[in-house]
Symmetry: C2
Subunit: 320 residues, 2 copies
């Protein structure tokens, strides 16, 4: 049974700072609930104020510790902070991960902090559709900074990093020297690099490697922003202020250079495109059960047609 949702009331409560309402709106995203388009429309006029900061890095570099340290530092500046922990490799949402967070994070009882995990639940488009929607909810609810922390590795991580205004790439000595970072494709996506666990052996050479690799790649990035490498030890707070400062400077640069608007427009394009594709896929699914796609596929199996000819025919049937 589908719950009836009073969208205008929920949006008003979320905007007034009620965590429960924010949570229910993100649950609509999680469920890809039929009321979601209405909610997104109601939230739209209130979006655009938050600074979306992505955190990414291999397992073990200290992402959660860094997130917690950043939350603390941003709270000291009286910012309202939301944390979205995204796990592309897990089909479970809001559960164990969130529990870990509550244990770890003394901010859990602070009303100026909202923490939520989001996981792929196998719905159409998965996290690449759900993550920007959840960000929209938090943005409209008035959080100043939204930290999007991705768990896990791979292509999806890179995609989700694309949802942020500023992307923080975390490395640790010995795990991620420059070459390894380049191979993992994370040099391209980072706006600020943090070498965490700076008390460990090899931290300085990791910083040096990384600066070198970044310099080599400099010609490839849009000019004007020199991507900093910050040494930190998030566990005891070393370097955290420098990280917060680098994030703030990046936002300034984004805003004054006009890159912020460019990035957000590109993201909106991706979001619209993903929704159009999902809609068309659903329509093709209907044609499949209706028989057209099934008939075409059988013709391909029989050698009476080929996939290209069948695709053309399906496009005609779709009326495109």
């Amino acid at each position: 049974m589908i719950r009836t949702v009073d969208v205008p009331a929920l949006v008003a409560e979320a905007r007034a700072g009620t965590s429960r309402a924010v949570g229910r709106l993100i649950s609509l995203v999680d469920d890809q609930h039929p009321a979601l388009p209405e909610a997104m429309a109601a939230l739209a006029p209130h979006t655009g104020g938050a600074h979306v900061v992505g955190l990414t890095g291999a397992p073990g570099v200290g992402k959660s510790t860094t997130t917690n340290a950043l939350v603390r530092a941003l709270r000291e500046q009286d910012q309202r902070v939301a944390v979205l922990a995204v796990d592309p490799s897990s089909p479970f949402s809001g559960g164990a991960l969130l529990g870990d967070r509550i244990r770890m994070n003394e901010s859990a009882s602070d009303p100026g902090v909202y923490i939520r995990s989001l996981a792929s639940r196998g719905h159409l488009g998965g996290l690449s559709v759900a993550t920007p929607q959840a960000i929209r909810v938090l943005d409209a609810a008035g959080f100043d900074t939204i930290l999007v922390e991705t768990v896990g590795v791979g292509q999806s991580e890179v995609e989700i990093a694309g949802a942020a205004d500023t992307t923080l790439v975390l490395l640790a000595p010995g795990m991620g020297d420059g070459i390894q970072a380049a191979k993992a494709g994370i040099l391209e996506i980072g706006d600020v690099f943090v070498v965490n666990k700076a008390d460990r052996e090899g931290a300085d050479s990791t910083v040096r490697d990384l600066r070198h690799m970044i310099q080599l790649g400099e010609g490839l990035t849009p000019g004007g922003w020199r991507r900093p490498v910050v040494k930190a030890a998030a566990l005891d707070g070393t370097g955290v202020d420098e990280v917060v400062d680098a994030i703030a400077r990046h936002l300034d640069w984004l805003a004054t250079s006009g890159v912020l608007r460019q990035r957000r427009t590109a993201r909106a394009r991706d979001e619209i495109t993903a929704l159009v594709i999902a809609r068309l896929r659903a329509r093709m699914g209907d044609l499949g059960s209706g028989g057209t796609l099934q008939t075409l596929a059988a013709q391909v199996v029989d050698g009476a047609s080929d996939p290209y000819a069948a695709a053309e025919e399906l496009l005609t049937t779709l009326g495109v």
Copy 2:
């Protein structure tokens, strides 16, 4: 400059058994050459005769060794055999991997064997589009068995396994006990399981674990085929005949049960759908540069619209 391609001549030569022509047709796939739709149409009437066997498993389980042993055994039965080595993690194609194969495989000079590697080259849809197309070329060229070996891990591996009639999952003692296999999602995709390196310690317990896990999952799979677990040591040929036998029995079962046609039809549906999506994406790209998508995205950024409303408008512009 785009080469002119004499498609009918190429197809005739490939059907006559000329390796060079087969290679040029697969290069059309690799390049997503404009002549590809014409080639696919010309090949279509000749497809459907090959048994497509996917090989998958974590790095180090001995995939190449097993592939080579299978090629040898199938050649002894006078089959013509093609090997397609698919590497989703590499942007390079036909190069180093192929070189390794030639060194390793004494069959390289045998005209009854064709070996080719295929890699993601960043084109639309990537290997999920290119792999079934390369299989079509080899199928129409008259190979009896096409071994599709995937290198690398993850979701793409599962997708590519979907291109096969029969999927062989390889494990090695100590690396892949049943629970690990279940976590990796490979229990669902296997039709035949091979525990390779059977001379190693722990082989028997891996086989036992695996049989147990398969039994637990039995209720979830379409009835009639009891998925065998074969112990092998491909390096010295132990168990290879049993593997070949299991593959042949699976093909018999597929054919008599009607599942072969079902699977191939489902695959053709996926292939058609992927091409339709690629076509629509290209068209949306045109709209993007034409301004419609860009204008809608800017409205979303300004909060004047939301992604759902924008998607609806774009669908209207697309004429859907």
